[in-house]
């Protein structure tokens, strides 16, 4: 288990960091997709095999009570607990902003970094606006910035909500005083929202990668990878000295939480929409990582005790295209169940950066829904999930835009709905399918509304041990109704073959 965790976490980190540094963005001809709902690997252990939640010792949970000794009073254990440091977190958030600004100003000579008391005064006077930055800057780079703020909060012992406040505060500071631009409302949303999701993911994965009592090159490697996933936490560990024996210490190694997933390598297209030109057989790697027990058995009552990360990297036809989609549970309520099955209602937070061919959608959303795991036999199970929620802020390509300004997409808000189903046996997921629907009303850009429907289905067969092969079908349809344009639609349909490794 530990090896697979490390392998997958490292792969995920590499892809994540690769895009963060390279600024790779999915644009034309980038075919990839993400299910709306956190997918669940039916290859994971069956409920009966899953370690009961009551026996698990979660990071930061209280230690079990000491046994009683008749006639003797054993020395009270000096259990040390970590105390959150909110002021240091705030100082580190401000330090991140000043550090990023200094790099931009003195080494990058960025024009927007020329700030003064006057630009700050003007920003407060003029208030928020919708900015004109490019799509990948707003929907990918800004969340990465928010990721650092959130990491500062987590690194100082704050929980999800406290660290979320750090992400908001850091973004607000940057928008209002650290650029000469007017503050941007969309940046505030995506930096905060995406930063929370990315940050919590990085924090959790860093704890999986670190290992108690690691020594030598193994420790260096683990701390380095953990540092990339949780940068501020790693800095604090470096400066303060790590003490993983302290209860609730930030970044403490987690060797309990299960991690399951799939790595998928797709080959040539078998069939594509006739309207698409230039179809080529390009390498495509996709991954799914399910943190925690997706059936809800392992939810410890904290946000993101369960989450799913999905990504796809495609080499070509012009350059690598990469994206990520992360969805995690915020709260849940178990429903009565029998025979090993489980059902629970949950509220989920999503940040998605989605694209298929010429269709792109970036979204911050929150949804509620039901997840059910039906155990058909000792080794066979079916999982069903449904979601309905609010798409807080989304950005979609504007095909009609011909202006000189840089922004070629619309901002909108609306709703989302989704469903997912899967069938698995003997720790192998044979069939899975997802559908999601997005409806957006434009807030900025082309006035009107649009809707998206995305379907993805996979059928696999095991070939040898964890390896399998299968076919993937993907369909995306976008319908637009803009005030100054004729109603229109775009569709993409692809079938591709793949090999897979489930763990």
């Amino acid at each position: 288990m530990t090896g697979s965790k490390l392998t997958t976490a490292t792969i995920m980190m590499g892809l994540f960091l690769g895009n963060a540094l390279a600024g790779g963005v999915p644009e034309d001809n980038a075919a990839w997709s993400f299910p709306l709902v956190p997918s669940f690997s039916l290859s994971s252990r069956l409920p009966a095999e899953v370690a009961p939640a009551t026996t698990r010792v979660l990071v930061g949970s209280p230690l079990p009570p000491a046994p009683s000794w008749p006639g003797l009073t054993p020395p009270a254990p000096q259990a040390r607990a970590f105390h959150p440091r909110p002021w240091l977190a705030a100082a580190e958030v401000a330090g991140i902003n000043l550090g990023v600004w200094a790099v931009l100003h003195y080494t990058g000579d960025a024009f927007y970094s020329y700030i003064s008391w006057e630009t700050m005064r003007d920003n407060f006077r003029d208030g928020f606006e919708w900015d004109q930055s490019r799509y990948f800057v707003n929907f990918y780079h800004h969340p990465y910035h928010g990721y650092l703020y959130y990491s500062a909060g987590r690194a100082n012992g704050l929980g999800y909500w406290g660290a979320s406040l750090c992400a908001f505060g850091g973004s607000l500071m940057w928008e209002t005083v650290m650029e000469k631009y007017r503050p941007s409302i969309n940046d505030l949303v995506t930096t905060t929202y995406g930063g929370i999701v990315y940050g919590e993911m990085g924090y959790r994965f860093s704890a999986l990668v670190r290992k108690r009592n690691a020594r030598g090159i193994g420790r260096v490697w683990r701390e380095a990878v953990g540092g990339i996933l949780d940068p501020v936490g790693a800095l604090n560990r470096l400066l303060n000295g790590r003490d993983d024996s302290v209860s609730g210490a930030p970044g403490r190694p987690d060797d309990e939480t299960p991690l399951h997933g799939e790595i998928l390598l797709a080959g040539p297209f078998i069939w594509r929409s006739s309207s698409l030109e230039g179809a080529k057989a390009v390498p495509l790697v996709a991954f799914t990582l399910n943190y925690g027990d997706s059936a809800g058995k392992g939810w410890g009552g904290r946000p993101f005790d369960l989450f799913t990360v999905q990504g796809r990297l495609r080499w070509g036809p012009d350059r690598p295209h990469l994206s990520l989609s992360i969805g995690g549970i915020l709260t849940a309520k178990d429903l009565p169940s029998t025979g090993g099955s489980s059902h629970y209602l949950g509220v989920y937070q999503y940040y998605e950066y989605y694209g298929i061919d010429t269709l792109r959608l970036g979204s911050s959303s929150i949804a509620g829904g039901l997840t059910s795991l039906h155990v058909l036999s000792a080794k066979t199970q079916v999982k069903l999930a449904a979601r309905l929620g609010w798409l807080v802020l989304g950005g979609t390509d504007d095909f009609y835009y011909k202006g000189p300004e840089r922004r070629e997409y619309n901002y909108g808000t609306g709703w989302l709905a989704g469903a997912e189903a899967g069938f698995g046996s003997r720790r192998f997921e044979y069939v899975s399918a997802t559908w999601r629907h997005y409806g957006l009303f434009t807030l900025q850009g082309q006035k009107g509304s649009e809707s998206w429907d995305i379907f993805q289905g996979q059928a696999r067969v095991p070939v040898w041990r964890k390896l399998g092969a299968g076919l993937q079908i993907e369909y995306c349809e976008r319908n637009i109704k803009f005030e100054d344009q004729e109603p229109g639609e775009r569709r993409v349909f692809e079938v591709r073959a793949f090999v897979t490794c489930q763990f």
Binding site: L98, A102, D109, F111, T119
Partner: protein, 214 residues
């Protein structure tokens, strides 16, 4: 040539000050009595490294808050005037007058002791004016654009008593700005810095002062 040498020297001094903090840190000694708030007054010289700019008197004062023995947050006001000579880009001879409000972090290498070296990292808001020696009537007024800038340096406290210390600092004010013609017609936000002739008015500020702790 002189300006180039001065630039090298003024780059080297803060770097040495920084390094000195780490190399020359004394062993912990006398406790300082847990004082958390200090008032500081200091004076010294400022050297601007851009070609055509000279050196001048600087003075300032401020408050230092130390929430922990190894960390302090300083709010400081400083003022320095330096001559602008022939050869300064875009300006006639005159004087550059700078008022700055600085927010600096002090990172002490020792939590207590007779000698307490520290590193300085912070930012400052610089309000810079140009005053020509011979103003010509009818010509447009020129001025520097105000700027926020990074501060880097180091310092050393010599404690005379639990309430009083002598403090020496060497700090670099890294101001990047340009000269504009007044009156300004557009908001500063709409001016593209990449189209301006950027001046690196990096000022090396060296000072000696007294620090009164409460």
């Amino acid at each position: 040539m002189k300006s180039k040498s001065l630039k090298r020297i003024s780059t080297l001094i803060p770097a040495l000050a920084f390094a000195g903090v780490f190399l020359l840190a004394p062993r912990p000694g006398r406790a300082e009595g847990g004082k958390v708030l200090s008032v500081e007054m200091n004076a010294g010289k400022a050297f601007v490294t851009e070609k055509g700019y000279g050196q001048g008197l600087r003075y300032g004062g401020g408050i230092l808050w130390q929430p922990s023995p190894r960390f302090g947050l300083e709010v400081l006001f400083e003022k320095y005037d330096v001559p602008v000579n022939d050869g300064a880009e875009g300006l006639t001879p005159g004087e550059m007058r700078t008022n700055a409000l600085l927010f600096n972090c002090h990172f002490y290498l020792t939590g207590r002791g007779l000698l307490r070296p520290y590193a300085i990292v912070g930012v400052g808001f610089h309000f810079i004016c140009f005053s020509p020696d011979d103003p010509v009537a009818g010509t447009p007024e020129l001025d520097f654009v105000d700027r926020m800038a990074l501060q880097l340096g180091g310092g050393l406290d010599l404690r005379l008593s639990s309430h009083l210390a002598i403090t020496g600092k060497v700090r670099y004010n890294m101001v990047k700005t340009w000269v504009e013609t007044l009156p300004r017609t557009d908001p500063i936000r709409d001016t593209d810095p990449t189209q301006q002739n950027i001046l690196h008015l990096y000022a090396l500020a060296a000072s000696l002062g007294l620090k009164l702790s409460f």
